[in-house]
């Protein structure tokens, strides 16, 4: 972690102390901003015209189904890929990252689904892996254990014993250790790749709590998920992805949970599915009818116009956070 030569002013170990006061809510310079960003792989257009921003003390949720382009988006923000069109700005200045390491040096840390932890190693060894504390070869183990425990406590994770193998922690706790590790080593922006995907209801709740914690500590969080019920309570902004394009950009006040759910589910597609099931007859028809009722209740009827499901989004979406 010592590449002082190309360290930007501020470097690491800063965000934890006091958050950059600039982006307090919507006013200041966003920490990360994508303007009309797109990505092509040869003839395949994976993403196009994506606008996304996250400021300090903000959670931006990126919602999308499988194949919507979420992972391409992560890779662009994390510095693994460059956008083939559009601009990527960090704290107001355009950037072109050639490696995740460079993104990390600007404080953009990604917590992937597989978490980059070594299951058999104790929590504290995992926490400091690659960033060990100490002089020369020797590690300052008591200090490391204490820092690890304190940092986890600051995130509200009260572990019995930082000496236990990280594999013995629950999925949610492991996620939280990975998050607090990124925070400790100077992240200003956290990208969380489906952190609740593999978790049960309670565990997901715990992780959502830590997302709030990270926000309270002044970080910007990009929370990638396909679950609107997880996104809505913690998000300040919501960006919906479908087939590589944004189908909506909302501030919290502009959309209700039900509308968000409806958009995610794709009202028109659901309606079509319910019709298909009804025509099957028997038990399937029963399910189809109840689905139709749900769709109507959510107020997301697709006007029998499945081709343009972007149109089913409320018109006010465009009035929101576009530059």
């Amino acid at each position: 972690m010592s590449t002082p030569a190309q360290d930007p002013p501020g470097g690491r170990h800063r965000a934890t102390a006091d958050a950059p006061s600039a982006g307090n809510g919507n006013g200041g310079v966003p920490l990360v901003k994508l303007i009309n960003a797109g990505k092509r792989y040869g003839a395949v257009i994976a993403l196009h015209d994506i606008n996304l921003e996250v400021g300090a003390r903000e959670v931006t949720c990126v919602l999308g189904d499988n194949g919507a382009g979420k992972s391409t988006l992560i890779k662009i923000i994390a510095g693994l890929h460059q956008p083939s069109s559009g601009t990527y700005e960090v704290e107001g200045t355009p950037v072109r990252f050639s490696s995740p390491r460079e993104a990390l040096e600007r404080g953009i840390a990604t917590v992937y689904q597989d978490l980059a932890v070594v299951a058999l190693m104790p929590v504290w060894r995992n926490f400091f892996l690659g960033n060990e504390v100490g002089k020369g070869l020797r590690m300052d183990i008591p200090a490391m254990k204490k820092m690890c425990k304190d940092e986890l406590l600051a995130m509200g994770i009260d572990l019995r014993d930082v000496d236990q193998p990280i594999g013995t922690l629950s999925g949610g706790e492991r996620q939280c250790v990975a998050i607090s590790r990124a925070v400790h080593f100077g992240a200003k922006v956290l990208i969380l790749d489906e952190p609740t995907a593999a978790l049960g209801v309670k565990q997901s709740g715990v992780v959502l709590k830590y997302i709030i914690q990270a926000r309270e500590r002044g970080l910007g969080v990009i929370f990638i998920t396909h679950n609107p019920h997880h996104a809505y309570p913690v998000g300040d902004r919501f960006m919906l992805l479908n087939r590589g394009a944004s189908i909506g950009n909302f501030e919290k006040g502009q959309i209700t949970r039900d509308e968000l759910t409806g958009l995610m589910a794709g009202g028109a597609e659901l309606e079509q599915l319910s019709h298909e099931l009804e025509s099957e007859g028997g038990a399937a028809a029963e399910i189809g009818r109840s689905m139709e009722a749900d769709v109507e209740e959510l107020g997301i009827t697709g006007q029998h116009d499945a081709g343009t499901d972007a149109a089913s989004a409320p018109a006010r979406q465009e009035g929101s956070s576009h530059p």
Binding site: V117, L129, K146, R160, D161, Q164
Partner: protein, 352 residues
Amino acid sequence: MTQTAEAPVAPPPRADERVGRKSPLARMLARPEAGAIAGAIVIYIFFFIIAPPFRSAASFSSVLYVTSTYGLMATPIALLMIGGEFDLSAGVAVTSSALCASLFSYEFTTNAWVGVLVALALSLLIGFINGWLVIKTGIPSFLITLGMFFMLQGINIALTQTITNQVSSPDISTLQGFSSAQKVFASSFTIGGVNVRISIIYWIVFVIIATWILLRTRVGNWIFSAGGNPVSARAVGVPVARVKIGLFMAVGFMAWFTGMHTLFLFNTIQSAQGIGNEFVYIIAAVVGGCLLTGGYGSAVGAAIGALIFGMVNQGIVYAGWNPNWFQFFVGALLLGAILLNTYIRRRAEASI
């Protein structure tokens, strides 16, 4: 685990009251070397009862000596296995190193120490080639070092025969520097009337160094992560390639050291020696708690694994049995250790 999150009691920085729930026994059993310690005690008691000569201090010293010849190599092999790799060439690499030292200094009539240094360079090079090939090709180290094993074995025997027309290296005891090298590598001293070989001391020192590296240094952290999850380790900045090549070279270094001990103890070396020992080293490490999949184990465990071998090797002699029973024991121990380790680990994990 959710209840821990919902109840943010006054954070006790140390002496967390919940830690006490794990009994000291479970804590001890959770250590990688637990199975080996239990096995060593059982085997010691077994031979103590059935083989009266086994009980004397002198025979315990010779048990320790045999142990040290296995243990010197089992130590770096354990580190390598924790780092997620194998070395099947380790057994014959010892002989290669000793042959290189003796043939070089004898044929060119140099000081014995020159041969010693040439052998060191050769051993480090063999380790480097093993590691470099494994890293560059991504082929399992099992195959790479299997190839190296046969190559070295062929060179050992063929080259020795070509140069000396014999199956062993010439006696080098007349060379200059021999006696000083012998003092360093193969001397012995007496404590309380018991003859103690110096290799025992070296073995203990190397086990302590290896344990220190594993548990107290950042390199140790890297070794565990390189074996446990190399992809993740690389993602957080651990130089996995350098760690693994370094471990192969550490095996090379200890092969040199062990080779020098054997050479200066007997003045000569048999070219076919060492075949089969690679399995003894690996089994000692596994008996000592190293996982075949990497990422878990200890140097102390491998030392105890080697001690088990030393006790069985000598115990059979003291009990007056046919020495061929040793092979049977090697196999039985491996099976027993794997079963016991699996059982203990399951229990320990359940009691967390």
